[in-house]
């Protein structure tokens, strides 16, 4: 992955090192380092402005800041709604604001986590990014949402679980920092889907058996033959469309996809751990964030979860955490073990 130049990571690169690279012999690295140094100055300027976007000092309360890129591809753009301000009347702005609030609430109420870093870090999002931009992403320090093209995709803030998915990438970056490629990357993706779905279920007050287990329902326009971006319950069935193609997600290790595309299939093979979570949650019943969700959260913050973990290592840790929190012969521990067996990750 995907290292080295986000604003957050930039601050970890000591300027003297950058200066040295900038004076080094590889012309391309030299130019990148110079670019980073310049951007660093920009980031410091932003850090000045960030005094107006302070972190939350009170545990249990978020600090949200929504910006508009106004159709350009510049971050963070103009600030249009800050914590405590009323609705703006712009659906994308207000959906982002409320979506970040719902995500903060799940992490706080279910796991007593105070924002991305558990220390109240400000939640920064930008909407109206680019023209007809059909994507949402986490840039290493903030969330970014496009308006969609209107042909295939609606605006990306329309789906609460997508907002929560992007924010969860920030939580992961502050915890296990799973490498964004191959199985570790698919775990990174799966955790974002799991907590994305949990935020939606929590906001709707749904029990595991009532949830749709879809990711990104509502994003497609009516022109698309599909229900959502992904299905955690039935990976591979979310869409089958002449333009988008067919949902490529497997739900079992027998169908694991070896590919160089998509950072080694991070959005493809995430179907396998997604289904394991869904199976465990529905077999237990009740609110999914209380039983299996708690186990997955304990695993996400577990210091033993290495950056380069594969599915097997992650599964073993969830078993261990289920036993630690609920008891080795608890229903929870049994449900977790059975779920990983069903998808072929554990024997």
């Amino acid at each position: 992955m995907i290292e080295s130049t986000s604003p957050r990571i930039r601050t970890f690169l000591p300027p003297y090192l950058l200066e040295r690279i900038a004076g080094g012999s590889d012309p391309r690295l030299r130019e990148c380092a110079r670019h980073t140094l310049q951007a660093d100055h920009g980031f410091r300027a932003r850090a000045g402005a960030a005094r107006l976007a302070p972190d939350s000092l009170r545990r249990g309360e978020p600090a949200r800041y929504i910006h508009s890129a106004e159709g350009r591809q510049e971050l963070p753009g103009r600030r249009v709604r800050s914590e405590g301000e009323g609705d703006s009347g712009d659906p994308a702005v207000d959906e982002a604001y409320h979506g970040l609030g719902a995500t903060y609430r799940l992490f706080w109420e279910a796991f007593q986590r105070h924002s991305l870093d558990d220390r109240g870090l400000a939640l920064v999002a930008t909407v109206h990014y680019g023209q007809d931009y059909e994507n949402a992403f986490w840039d290493g320090s903030q969330m970014v949402f496009g308006d969609g093209d209107g042909e295939l995709f609606n605006r990306f803030t329309i789906a609460l679980d997508i907002i929560a998915h992007e924010l969860t990438h920030g939580v992961i970056q502050h915890e296990a920092a799973l490498t964004y490629a191959h199985q570790a990357g698919a775990l990174n993706e799966s955790l974002s889907d799991v907590f994305g779905s949990l935020v939606k279920q929590h906001a709707r007050g749904q029990r595991a058996g009532e949830a749709d287990w879809l990711i990104g329902a509502g994003l497609f326009t009516e022109r698309v033959a599909g229900r959502a971006l992904r299905s955690m319950a039935e990976p591979g069935t979310a869409y089958d469309d002449p333009v988008l193609g067919r949902d490529p997600q497997p739900g079992h290790m027998d169908d694991f996809v070896e590919t160089q595309e998509d950072n080694g299939g991070v959005h493809i093979n995430s179907g396998i751990p997604n289904r394991a979570f869904q199976l465990a949650a529905t077999s237990l019943g009740g609110p999914a964030w209380e039983g299996v969700g708690r186990v997955w959260y304990d695993t996400l913050v577990d210091r033993r979860l290495a950056k380069d973990s594969d599915f097997g290592a992650f599964a073993e840790l969830t078993r261990d955490n289920a036993a630690g929190r609920f008891g080795a012969s608890s229903r929870e521990a049994e449900a977790v073990r059975e779920a990983w067996r069903s998808v072929g990750v554990l024997p």
Binding site: E3, R8, D139, G140, L244, R246, H267
Partner: protein, 108 residues
């Protein structure tokens, strides 16, 4: 992260394959590679493409984060052998090169 060299000189027999992939979901239909057959373009257009590839190659590698879209480029010689590849974050791609991608024909 590999550090790509500057692209080789485009000749009429060169074929450029481009695919835009990544993003919050992987859509096989949208990620399908597209091709630009240099033989179908004038020398001036080839020169323009050459400049855009050189600019793209000087862009910094993929940036931090998740769910970013990437542009994957690969250049083939007249025998179909891959002679150069580059993967960069969409934000770092020269806009005019994205226009070439937009108008390139899909491999179907």
């Amino acid at each position: 992260m590999t550090r790509p060299a500057a692209p080789p000189t485009l000749v009429p027999a060169s074929v450029l394959r481009l695919s835009r992939e990544g993003g919050v979901a992987h859509f096989p239909g949208l990620a399908r590679p597209r091709r630009i057959h240099c033989a179908r373009y004038s020398e001036a257009q080839r020169g323009e493409l050459q400049r855009l590839l050189a600019t793209a190659a000087r862009a910094c590698p993929v940036e931090a984060g998740a769910d970013r879209r990437l542009l994957h480029l690969s250049l083939e010689d007249d025998r179909g052998a891959e002679v150069w590849t580059l993967t960069i974050a969409e934000e770092a791609v020269p806009p005019a090169l994205l226009d070439w991608w937009r108008h390139a024909e899909s491999e179907g």
